[in-house]
Symmetry: C2
Subunit: 210 residues, 2 copies
Amino acid sequence: MSKKGEISLSVIRRLPRYYRFIGELIKEGTVRISSGDLSKKMSLTASQIRQDLNCFGGFGQQGYGYNLIELRQEIGKILGVDKGYKTILIGAGNLGKAIATHMNFSEYGCSLAAIFDSDKQKVGKTAAGITIRDIDDIDEFAEEHKPIIAILCIPKASAQEIADHLVGLGIKAFWNFSHYDLRLDYSDIIVENVHLGDSIMLLSYGITNS
Amino acid sequence: MSKKGEISLSVIRRLPRYYRFIGELIKEGTVRISSGDLSKKMSLTASQIRQDLNCFGGFGQQGYGYNLIELRQEIGKILGVDKGYKTILIGAGNLGKAIATHMNFSEYGCSLAAIFDSDKQKVGKTAAGITIRDIDDIDEFAEEHKPIIAILCIPKASAQEIADHLVGLGIKAFWNFSHYDLRLDYSDIIVENVHLGDSIMLLSYGITNS
């Protein structure tokens, strides 16, 4: 029994990590785990874990730990991992092709339906087994297939313009690798900006200040 | 005047983002900005920003806002963006090659010195203008060049073993894309695990629960 309405943003942002860790534990053959043992693996406190997992219903029993399969199913349902949301990728450069190839979209609730690029040299070639389409054909594609997630692997300069256009075509969520924080004036659009540079800079910080 | 010793982990994790936003404002020609205006751009509260930036010294003046060039220099110094830490990349698959090509390492305090792969078919080819070396030659390379950051773009199964070996060769920091949270029993080693799947799942969550 989930109590979705009460889940805070910070708990939500931890959900994929719980889902991933619990998945690994199940693969290793673990059936139940206490909040204390889970806390050691996840670098969270046991009380934080108990508080977080209470949001998803009653899977922990005092002295018995959590039933991992039930817990993973519930978190997966909340995350929507079985939804297969129709996804398009814009920009078939090095990063775009790597994302298309590297990610197991179906594990994350998505299904990669098409790849677009404005470079006519790329159109007709394939990435991850999908034929790269001309960006000029995107309106027609969207009308027929109704994608709702767009992955932006395009230069910063064109990101805002393309994002605005895609919202007009019905895109509801953006996974944005464009080195640019999308500013969308639509309250119902979801954006995850991925800044790989922010992450590697923390290594430089760590070494510099160690 | 920085007060590094007092900076908390959560402020540190926001540093790259401040550095990036301030850089963009400078590019746009902005010289000074108030915490209120910066807060609108960064989706933080003005008081949070004032509190964070106070950690780096006295760049804000009541009524005058922040001197952006000085502030960026100071944050850059704390982050170590001018250090050019010698970096190696392990795994020249799709993702590895995309990371090598896509990232401007010098902006982030790093310098990509070599790429390694265990696949003899890849050895001798190039990625981002760098010749891919045989992983068997890594000990020799490390002894001569003393790299200190390693980027892991390898399958989960081999990540832990390679990471342990690299620590033995003097690697101090890992940027880990291997779908596996490194568990290093060395307190002085820095790890940033990048889980792209966690990020895209938040889109599925958002759509499912909207």
